[in-house]
Symmetry: none
Subunit: 409 residues, 2 copies
């Protein structure tokens, strides 16, 4: 089944408000076998909503409209739908009673009654957390649903009313599974080359999304039974994993700091972090995870040479001879840190984030990542592309990945 | 002028990724006199992108497409546009040279060349921060622009290439000025009350956007001459500043860390940071600014009590008697830090970011911010609402603001 989501509301076009409803809905629809082909955002404008609805009815089976069903002047969704479907707006007695009951004893205003004016033939969707009811309609085989724009109300109404209605009407035909394999350390074009056969297949649908922190591989499987869907998903994941191996660090929404945190926690290891060019970003990412105090001992942001000497015990001679951005300094930072912190692991990063500070020898983007453990210390050189923020983010991801790779050996 | 934004990318339909590009673009278009009527999101699917583009060309004057211009198999925007406009895809020599120059000396793969295959007649938009070029096309009076999907690249390309091109093509009729006054420490409703007369005016258009880090006040002025626009803008800014005073910390895209960094740099002061619940976030924000090594001495992320004692010299007795989250500990952290770092300022943050760790006495969101200087130490208690990430972000903003307020006195 193909779906389109139409989000209405002028604030979504240029009022600084992000449409998060459509994301929630498309994810939910996928789990009941519906693929969202289009999301359209349109202002509180009669003509444009009309145009969007007509278009959607031509190209999909299920149209979900959010927003515009409140009590105010610019809540025009009900009116537009009635017009497009050539149905009358009728006062829905049950809806009216519910609205009045909800508002009993409150500031009541007659404009709220308007929310019970629904296109003829509409089936009510109760609003568990707000006032305005939603509704569903069947029009020549197109299923149309209308939900509130307030995310909390929309979600509650979807779960309690619309999802069951969709399952009743369309359920049992297609089974969709979705999985994201997250990678670090391999470029988008390298991944593309390595799994191009899989990317070209029609089923499953496999796609790539490049982020600063790595490339995500999305797999979507559509099958006629749950078993077939699961089996194709598992086979596809296995093929991708055979090609990419350890470059895959996590699944779906998992962040690198979660994955590494869970590994440290499970192994009961403690870590300390010494950062120069990343300036606290790695510590901030580690501690963004609830429960990180279990494995995160402390962090030092040693920006100046003085701090590297005093806080981390880097020998002044090392800094003088090799420079603050060098393999030797990265090693000394990790070792000195681990010694004072008395942790299992000491992670260090030193580099040139730019825009200034680069030279022919040591260009912007040059970063050394060091790791000290009971097995000894090592440091690796990287060259990251991008501006200051990108270099810092990429370096933080690679530093976390260095810990991950140490832990999976 | 009427615009439509088409965001392409399967991850935007059901990959858990929010389309933030369209919001940026519609806000920017508004400032050059263009109204966005529709935003359409469509997957990496040839037929559906084709359908969306054809539809958009029928209903608006300017179509902006984001995404799908990278080097991989599912980057099909170039191909679809060529098909819809019935133009050939040609290898654009200048674009190819630029791509190869950017990749020189790095892992180079021939698939990147694909990014220089553009529809005949396309005018290149340079990519200041990434590889793939964007482009613009004129088709029977419809202006079509194609930008990357990566937000940072998209924004840079819009500012450096597309905005000037749009202004050249459509500009000159109206003079629009836009300014954002950024505030910290005042709620949206308090600001709403304080400047309600200004908010209600038809011209200029003034609106509020609440963020975790404070409330932005957007002023948009549209006038028939540049002088009138500038003069109305200046008068409006003055009125807002009279009402809100020091709560305004910056203009337009300025971040708090830039403002505070510039003040420290100008006064030639050095700062050190001791963080507990913010876990490195404040150091990371400070050092995100180029040139921060001038004033940022070092940072300590002292998560454990042990670290607070050893790295910051907080007396064990203080921790025992008042707890790690207390005014006394915040004071001792700031003082101990400033003593060892020998800086002009020592900033400390300790609190409960949640979700665990709260109690009736010390709930999640309780944060103490301490500042030590030659004028002595003080610490202030805050209670922030929200989840772990929100509490951390709000605490980091307030800590930076504490330094700002110290420096403006």
């Amino acid at each position: 089944m193909r779906a389109e989501i139409i989000a209405t509301g002028t604030e979504l076009l240029s009022g600084g408000v992000l449409d998060t409803n459509s994301l929630f809905l498309s994810e939910e629809l996928l789990t009941i076998g519906m693929e969202t082909l289009f999301k359209t955002i349109v202002g509180d404008d009669e003509k444009n909503i009309e145009e969007a609805l007509q278009r959607a009815m031509q190209r999909v089976d299920v149209v979900i409209i959010t927003g515009g069903i409140g009590p105010t002047e610019d809540d025009i969704t009900r009116k537009v739908i009635a017009k497009v479907l050539k149905r009358r707006l009728l006062l829905h007695e049950d809806a009216l009673k519910t609205i009045q009951a909800k508002l009993a004893g409150r500031d009541f205003s007659v404009v709220n009654d308007r929310q019970a004016l629904l296109p003829a033939g509409a089936r009510i969707l109760a609003n568990p957390v707000g006032i305005a009811p939603g509704f569903i309609l069947d029009e020549d085989g197109t299923f149309i649903a209308v939900l509130p724009g307030v995310p909390r109300e929309m979600e509650a109404m979807f779960v309690s009313g619309l999802r069951p209605a969709l399952e009743e009407r369309f359920g049992g035909r297609l089974f969709i599974r979705r999985r994201i394999l997250r990678t670090c350390g391999m470029s988008e074009s390298a991944i593309n080359q390595s799994i191009q056969d899989i990317l070209k297949s029609e089923a499953p649908v496999v796609g790539l999304t490049a982020k600063e922190t790595g490339v995500d591989i999305r797999i979507v499987v559509t099958e006629s039974s749950a078993e077939r869907a699961q089996s194709l998903m598992d086979r596809t994941e296995t093929s991708v994993r055979q090609k990419l191996g350890d470059f895959i660090f996590g699944l779906d929404g998992q962040e690198m700091e979660e994955v590494v945190g869970a590994m440290l926690s499970q192994r009961r290891l403690k870590i300390a972090i010494a950062e120069s060019c990343t300036g606290g970003l790695i510590s901030a990412r580690f501690t963004n995870i609830a429960g990180s105090s279990e494995y995160f001992e402390h962090g030092v942001v040693a920006y100046s040479n003085q701090a590297k000497i005093e806080m981390l015990g880097v020998p002044g001679e090392t800094l003088e001879r090799f420079g603050a951005v060098s393999r030797e300094t990265a090693l000394a930072m990790a070792q000195g840190l681990r010694r004072t912190a008395r942790t299992d692991l000491g992670l260090s990063v030193t580099g040139i984030a730019g825009p200034g500070g680069g030279s022919a020898d040591k260009p912007v983007g040059l970063v050394y990542i060091g790791l000290d453990s009971a097995q000894g210390a090592k440091a690796v050189e990287y060259k990251f592309l991008g501006n200051r923020q990108q270099v810092r983010l990429k370096a933080s991801q690679m530093a976390l990945d260095t810990v991950r790779r140490y832990l999976i050996v």
